[in-house]
Amino acid sequence: MNSTRDTGFFHLGRLRGEMDHFLSSFLAPVGRDNGDVSESYPSLNVWEDEANIYAEAELPGFKLDEIEIYVVKNELRLKGQRKETPGETKAIYHRRERELLPFARTVHLPVDVDGEKVKAQLRDGLLTITLPKAPEARPRKVELTKP
């Protein structure tokens, strides 16, 4: 009984690992950071259901007009730049950990999305983008007919 379960979990875990590896080749960031623009910022979570892909980015402190979102086929591109940049100050810095560089991050989604119907909202520093899958990328239920 126990050994059967263990085997089952093992296979599931291995399959999951292979899936992650497969998907990460699609979603790997394009390019690397250079000194002026961050290409790995912001942190992203991307998940899906049958109809949509959802992308969520942590963008604390950003305003709506400081973020640009582009969608072409299966490519999602996020750009942003803060208008308020820390000027020269006579204050002493004790901690300086916040990422304040402009960013441009591109991810490739596993399927094409319908760019016309993409929706995005920004709330409490989280950007949530809903990307409807292109009709041809959605699963179709095949109706069985009686012979």
Binding site: K63, I92, H94, R98, P110, D124
Partner: protein, 132 residues
């Protein structure tokens, strides 16, 4: 210039009975600056609603705790997962130089701005020298 007020920092979950067990805790990124008048702390707490934020200052220690409610469904099929939903927690030992009655906080767009004015006794004073 003014002396460094921050002496040490402890990381990890703050003691708070209201928090549910099993929450993942993250250390929020902060900028802290100091002028003659005050300490200014800016913390990034994306996903934390103002009502889910708890700030305490006691005995010279400042602690910030924020809860995040996951926006994805429990059974979400992830394609990319770079951060997990959880809470933010971080505390700082500021010493006895802060005028706790005048601490002010603002939380907007996932960013907390805390102004921590210094007590009068530690502010630098300019001594006017009169001509004799």
């Amino acid at each position: 210039m003014s002396t460094q007020t921050l002496t040490k920092e402890s990381r990890g979950p703050a003691v708070n009975e209201g928090l549910r067990a099993g929450t993942r805790w993250y250390v929020p990124a902060v900028d802290i600056t100091e002028t003659d008048e005050e300490l200014l702390l800016v913390a990034e707490l994306p996903g934390v609603k103002p009502e889910d934020l708890d700030i305490q200052y006691q005995g010279g220690e400042l602690s910030i705790t924020g809860q995040v409610t996951p926006s994805y469904p429990p059974n979400a099929r992830f394609l990319l997962s770079e951060y997990a939903a959880g809470g933010y927690s971080r505390s700082f030992e500021l010493g006895e130089t802060i005028d706790s009655a005048r601490i002010s906080a603002e939380h907007k767009d996932g960013v907390l701005t805390l102004r921590l004015p210094k007590i009068e006794a530690v502010k630098p004073r300019r001594i006017t020298v009169k001509a004799g």
